[in-house]
Symmetry: C2
Subunit: 193 residues, 2 copies
Amino acid sequence: MRRFLIVGHRASTDPEFSLDDLAGGAGRMDILLNAANAALHLAHGLRRDVEVGLSLLGPPDPPRLVRFEGFRLRNFQPDIRSNAALVRLALKDASRVERETSPGVFGSKTGFEEALDRLGPAFVYLREGGKDIRDAILPADATFVLSDSQDLTAAEERCLVARGALATGLGPMPLHTDHAITLVHNELDRRNV
Amino acid sequence: MRRFLIVGHRASTDPEFSLDDLAGGAGRMDILLNAANAALHLAHGLRRDVEVGLSLLGPPDPPRLVRFEGFRLRNFQPDIRSNAALVRLALKDASRVERETSPGVFGSKTGFEEALDRLGPAFVYLREGGKDIRDAILPADATFVLSDSQDLTAAEERCLVARGALATGLGPMPLHTDHAITLVHNELDRRNV
């Protein structure tokens, strides 16, 4: 199983966020949805062995966790606008108990640290300056943690350090979140893990 | 300079294609625009040393070539819907002589083979089963050629073979076009070419 947790510091927690303004009004929800696409889509079909958590920390009612389980998903599209509608549905109920709001899509009122513990068990923190992934010994069943267009906060980084996360880099250039996920998948595909 | 040519076999050549139906009515224009994003965007800013050609071969008035020059672009966004508007503008004039319709965006009535010759000089054809890019000696200033969700036609493949294109693969899994471009960039970034 491969797991990705993507942190959206400004990502809207309003179940009525506009599908026509994902980059603006919805707080760079486009970054999170492009990342989920990179994590879950192959050329033909879905990666069934992938789990994606979106940590939504923007107004009006943070924190929220929206989780996608590849092997259960049925309505997940290459088009991020359609998937944004799945996220809206998952935001409707603000319960701390997780609910499946569409096949393979789960929503709950869960913060970043609790999201780490729900995904786990080992962590890889993708950031510039980390040990090159091509040379890294990656833990099995790791959760890869990425941020949106902002860096992780110091507090978030401390949560990762406390869990022994391996800081890993992907090459010399700073990349978009979805591109980083593509590179992780390629490395793991090549290792056949 | 890095160059990418992406072939959209069904991509609309109607300057009024709908911005709200890029995946459907516009003939998988979303694939071409996501590919252009992967080619041109870094985390912060654009890759100025990149040129992208979109070969649009769908109805009603094919063929068309829309070309983006990274070092001249001014209005290119992470949001593909905005960039789709730039493509529409480039489709307005069906002249065989190329025109710059917005800074760094050029449109002309140009077919696949002529597009190859305009980009050139050397070609890398990205396809499953090609020689692994990590082991390949890549020609300098190559144009990387990719298809949309359909394979290149036999006639298109012959054009590439005639130009000595190097068939190159990216790993064991079939990938989306934009993910393939991300992997090419990473390999070239690592080689610092």
